[in-house]
Symmetry: C2
Subunit: 328 residues, 2 copies
Amino acid sequence: MPEPSTKAEYVVGVDLGGTKILAGLFDGWLECIGTAKVSTKSQRGVESVVERIDRCVRDAVDEADLTMKQVAGVGIGAPGAVDFEAGNVIFAPNLDGWKDVPLKKELEKHLGLPVFVENDANIAVLGVHVAELKSKPRNVVGIFVGTGIGGGLIVNGELYSGFNHTAGEIGHMVIDVNGPKCGCGNKGCFEAVASRTAIFQRIKAGIKDGEKTLLTEMLGDGLEDLRSGDLRKAIRRGDKFIGKVVEQTAEYIGIGVANLVNILGPEVVVLGGGVMEALADEMTSVIIKTAKDHAMPGTIKGVEIIASKLGDNAGITGAAVLARRETK
Amino acid sequence: MPEPSTKAEYVVGVDLGGTKILAGLFDGWLECIGTAKVSTKSQRGVESVVERIDRCVRDAVDEADLTMKQVAGVGIGAPGAVDFEAGNVIFAPNLDGWKDVPLKKELEKHLGLPVFVENDANIAVLGVHVAELKSKPRNVVGIFVGTGIGGGLIVNGELYSGFNHTAGEIGHMVIDVNGPKCGCGNKGCFEAVASRTAIFQRIKAGIKDGEKTLLTEMLGDGLEDLRSGDLRKAIRRGDKFIGKVVEQTAEYIGIGVANLVNILGPEVVVLGGGVMEALADEMTSVIIKTAKDHAMPGTIKGVEIIASKLGDNAGITGAAVLARRETK
């Protein structure tokens, strides 16, 4: 646990997502004492998003009844490849026009505070490692299942990002070479078979083929505004088709876990992201069973596979950890 | 380059394989000045294999006109999960009855020299890193394609073996979830679609379906004693079917490379093993093209993908490096 300092003892952690920006103000004990949220609206351009991050940070500080002078620095997780040293977002596929954006520099101009930028999944696994994993395992794989699938790696106790700062791009690991097409152009990527997007496509295809589901009663035939939480509700009301789709998805996640355990030999695999947050009770045991069935016996012995309890806060927590470390 | 010491300046590197044991005597400049080879015959039991390793080491020393007193230590790469600290082979699927074998202890009794045991693919990537990669990249993935597929990882400049000493089990990464059955019981593992075994099965299935190949002329209808070198000969004599099978295998290897680049972000990917040694000219460009097509654009930029020139000597070289380091 970080020691509180005497001045400017607070930090802000920001999770920059494709649809929303979340900011949290954290004290010296890594407690979150104020949050704010704004939509990203990346179609308005890079400068507009930077202004919205600025506003979101100030809102979180205000929410906690503090002033910007009490903040030592800001950490931010961005959804793409990040050059940490330069503070540049190299490429973020889910943000319109984000290529080689000097986010650190731009945001520092707005905020007048030091800013530190990392990849969002790296940040999230750092948050889980510091705030949730009491045993401080040396090697951790974080798998974050949402619209896509992101990964973050702790290797030998440190965040690991590799040569091009892109390590942990587990969402585009091919696991079904003849499988459904992925947004990246390949077939059968992990996120093409196991993300929320993959679940929704499987549901829509099933409905077309005549499958019955409570979701059409709940949301209409077009399944407008379908969210992961709706899947949980449907399953708990006895929807067998949705139960089957979610189980199949959990099996794919389990195969992905097995691949990563075989390759990386971690002590702990942490599952997070919106899909896991909504469906952890339904999916976790299937994921663990499938992973154990698929990993080599020696590789998975003693490996913990757990669903993170930080949920949506993993990102802002990790970003706060980063800001704390870098401003100490 | 290691400095030669004044006494016992030589080391022996051993590559313990499922079918053969190879030993090399190395001088202080990491030059191999004597080798020996015996078959493994693991069906005769663990103690017999240990005796054969002992004999092979002594033969290599004799081959170089030296005595055991001039040898500082012996490194050995074993085909399975290894506990380096204890010097135990935890499990080696291709050696009959090898479960929890105290190889270091047993071999030290025979040889009267310090012995150091590591996984064979780890050892091979270490050998390539020290003896072949002049730029000393910090992060390297080694992919060794033979009867199966083994992997070794250099992370942050050091050999990396993870929590259960099993990291780099890339041969059982699932890449075709509905693909051919693997020896491990799963479907579509990397080695089930891209190893020599996979190539041979594809050829045999093709012949059954009426494909014509020069191999049946060369070796008879049963393809007795088929080796990787025969594939090269057939292709160079214009065998289109074998050319197609090898190309398809190279594409699978390329997808495996892309997965590992996405996950690990290495600077260099090194391809080795018997299949690569025989077919590097035929396969390397296809592997590189497929890997570039499948990896995320940002992850593979500037990444070198090369075929090792050490060939079969990667294992004994790495084992010698290990022995040198540990006895210094």
